[in-house]
C-alpha cells in the first residue's frame, strides 16, 4: 500500500474500474455519461450540481474533476463558490433542522 490513500493520478484511472468487473462497470459508465449529457438542465448546471455534491461527499477526485468541468462549461468563480455555499447551507441546515427533534424530545421530557 502507498503512504497516502489519495493520489491525484488515480482520477485518470477511474475508467479502469471495469477491469475487475466489466459488466457492471460498463452499465455504470453508460449511465454516468448519460446523466451528464445536456438535457432539461444544461451541461454547465449539471457540472455545478456535481461540484456542490462533490463538496458534500468530500470526494477529492470529484472536486478536482468538477472544478475543471465547471470552468470548461463556462461557469465562473463566483458561480462555483455559490454552488459550494448551497452545499454548505444544506449540510449545515440538515444538522440544524434536527434541532427540532431535540426540541421536541426536550419538551416531551420537560415539566
Amino acid at each position: 500500500m502507498q503512504n497516502s490513500y489519495y493520489d491525484s493520478k488515480d482520477l485518470a484511472k477511474f475508467g479502469d474500474i471495469g477491469d475487475f468487473e466489466p459488466v457492471l462497470g460498463e452499465k455504470f459508465f453508460d449511465y454516468y455519461n448519460q446523466v451528464f449529457e445536456e438535457g432539461e438542465l444544461t451541461a454547465r448546471e449539471k457540472a455545478l450540481i456535481a461540484l456542490a455534491v462533490a463538496h458534500t461527499v468530500q470526494c477529492p477526485y470529484c472536486i478536482d474533476a468538477y472544478t475543471e468541468a465547471s470552468l470548461e462549461k463556462g461557469a465562473n468563480e463566483t458561480q462555483m463558490m455559490e454552488a459550494v455555499h448551497v452545499a454548505c447551507a444544506i449540510r449545515g441546515g440538515a444538522t440544524l433542522v434536527h434541532g427540532v427533534q431535540m426540541m421536541n424530545k426536550t419538551k416531551r421530557l420537560g415539566m
Binding site: A43, R44, N76
Partner: protein, 351 residues
Amino acid sequence: MDVTSLTSRSHALKDPAEQLRVINNHSPVLCTLPRFDQMLEQSGLSPLKPTGIDIFQINLGYMCNMTCKHCHVDAGPDRKEKMSRENLEYCIQAIEALDAETVDLTGGAPEMHPDFRWLVERISKPGRTVIVRSNLTILVTNPKFRAFPEFFKKHGVEVTCSLPFYNKYTTDKQRGEGTYDRSIEALHKLNEIGYGKEGTGLVLNLVYNPAGAFLPGDQKALEADFKNNLMRKHGIEFNELFTITNLPISRYLEFLVKSGNLDDYMEKLVRAYNPAAAEGVMCRNTISVSWNGTLYDCDFNQMLEIPVETEESRHISDFDPEALLNREIRVNQHCFGCTAGAGSSCGGTTT
C-alpha cells in the same frame, strides 16, 4: 501584477527554440508523451498536406496596446515589429493572384499598423471576406482609433474580437485591469452602427479562450451563455462565438511553467487528441505571413519561427501557390492544441 512581454524581460522563453525544447523535453512526463507526428501517422494524416489556400492571414506586427497574460504572440506596447509597405504590396499581389476569399488581419493590434486603412481599402471587395482580429479596447482609446468601427462598416470588414468571459473578474484577470469595461464600450459602439445585428450583414464574432489551464467547453453551449449574459447585462448582440484552445507557447507557456501546470496541460491535450479535429486543422487551408514577409503554416508556427517547408517559396516576394499547395505542413508538440476535443482554429472548433 502588470504583465510585460517576454522580449522586454529578456526571458529565456522569448526564444522559440527554448519554447520547443520546453514543450518537448522539460520533464520526464513530457519526454514520454506521444509525438504529434506519430498521432497523425496513426490517423492516416502523415505527412500533413494542405487542402487549399482559402485563408490568407497577415500578421501586421506585434505592437499592441495590451499585454495579455496568455498572448501567444508576446505582443505588447514595447514590440515595434511591423510589416513594411514593400511586403504589404507583395501580400496584395498574392491576394489578387489567389483571388483569396478570406483575408484575415491579425497582430498585435492590427489597427495600430500605420498602413492598416490603406491596406483594407486596397483589398476589400464584394465577395471577399476581410477579417480584422480586434482586441476591442483599441477601439475606445483615442479619436483616431474610435473612428475605426465606421471605417470597418464602410468596407464591410468582419470584426472578430477577443472577450474571454462575460464578466469583469475573469476578463480583467487575463487581459488587464479595465479591459472588460472598455470592451463592453467598444461592443456597444459596434452594435450601435449595426454590427452583430440581424439583417445588417455586418458580422461581429467573439473569441473565447479559457482563462487558465483548462480546455474550452462546448462552443454552442458557451455561445448561448455569452448571448444570454451579454444581452441581459449589457444589451449586447453578436453573431458567433469561437472557442479557441490556448496553445502551449509564448506567454501562455510561461504561465503553464510558472504555475506548475505544464505536464498536466500537455497530457490533457494529448488525451483529448481527436483524429476528426486533426483532419480539419486550419493550417491545411491557411497561409500565414509574418511582418517580415516570411510564410508559415499558421500563426503559431510563425511565433515558433518554423517557416513553411518550401524553400523556394518561403517569403511573400516568392509566393508560389502551386509549390505551397504541395508542401508538407510542419508540426510539433504545440499542434496538440489544435486537435484537442472539438478542435481549435482561428475560426473556432473544426469538427
